[in-house]
Subunit: 222 residues, 2 copies
């Protein structure tokens, strides 16, 4: 199976798929794609110009969660979405929470206000929206800490796609130097375990033009 993943370095959904595919031991090549550029050849693959997109042989699969579900179905290896229908329900519920609610209340503002405006050279960040996202982040942090304290990992005793999804969003906030680590010792410990996984190492090498990460970004012990 020849796999090509179209990804964009700051995109948390691209990060989620990259880590998940490595975690599942899948070989794939990467094509960097800036979705705001709306490149003609990419629009032919995905008319809505959204990343990530997996092209697996001739099948085009759009959407990070559709890609992860597909990989979990067709690849062998350790299950990473739970071992029973009920466990999978718990993993999925958290992944949707992170990819919809956490994204819309936190990460989206950071991407739209800081990164998009830098990439497109159009406008400057609205500090009120950044402040709102940081305020929203606090209640998410408390909820995620509660889950980790209860379950060990986010959804269960096992490391699952829910952990991958959250760490993908957090890695972007951390790259931008705005994650409040001092507020969340449990999340800090959880994230340092994820940082040390071979599947995560490539993310820590990413660079976003116009933004330098803080010194601790790639340090396993931070």
């Amino acid at each position: 199976m020849a796999n090509t993943l179209y990804y964009f370095p700051p995109c948390p959904f691209s990060r989620k798929v990259r880590v998940f595919m490595r975690e599942k031991g899948l070989d794939f090549s990467l094509v960097e794609e800036n979705p705001w550029r709306r490149r003609k050849e990419f629009l032919e693959i995905n008319p809505v110009s959204q990343v990530p997109v997996l092209v697996s042989d001739r099948s085009v699969i759009v959407d990070s969660q559709a890609i992860c579900e597909y990989i979990e179905e067709v690849c062998g290896g350790e299950p990473r979405m739970g071992k029973s229908p009920y466990e999978r329900a718990k993993v999925r519920r958290l992944v949707y929470w992170i990819d919809c609610r956490f994204y819309h209340e936190v990460t989206r503002y950071v991407i739209n206000e800081k990164i998009a405006k830098q990439y497109t050279k159009h406008g400057s960040p609205n500090p009120n929206l950044i402040r709102a996202s940081m305020s929203n982040l606090q209640s998410h942090v408390r909820y995620m800490e509660h889950l980790i304290n209860t379950n060990g990992w986010l959804a269960s005793r096992e490391f699952t796609l829910a952990d991958v999804a959250l760490s993908a969003h957090i890695s972007l906030l951390d790259y931008m130097g705005i994650f409040p680590w001092d507020l969340s010792p449990t999340l800090k410990e959880w994230y340092s375990l994820i940082k040390s996984k071979p599947s995560f190492s490539q993310i820590l090498g990413d660079r976003i033009p116009g933004f330098s990460p803080p010194v601790h970004y790639a340090q396993l012990d931070f």
Copy 2:
């Protein structure tokens, strides 16, 4: 298996699960739950006070898509999420698009501005936000019409969860009398096929306090 679904009549995610469970031939009882009321007994089941919630024997399953995936895994009957991993990827991708993008760009404004403000008796609808959602709706309508014209149903030649998800959102907009049927003959024909399904009939009997549906809302031929 004893199944209880906590639902809220105007909630498109509750509507999606109700139709999907009937489509799969599942027996269940309904408990109406207004999530804005934050009822103590309901918070014990779901601390974030989000509907729908399925309680199946003693398992609590939160999130409409987690519920539908669970049902598809544990129930027999005709598959409604695609028959192969690749078909399932296409169905899931559209369901996420509808439940995230369509919801955040269209339905959410209608719920927050019109329905929530009526239920909570707090504030009046912001006409700019309603106008923005109606403008966003137009590009979604064009995209969905393109998909139906290409595939027959939304994701494929078969009626799937993608059709259920979209019809759940549209049924709410139609109840509120704001769906532009004259702009979309293809969607109108598609929706009238869905309206005639026994799995959908209960939705057409729903009433939302403070709002009367237009006369055509429950008519199969409209």
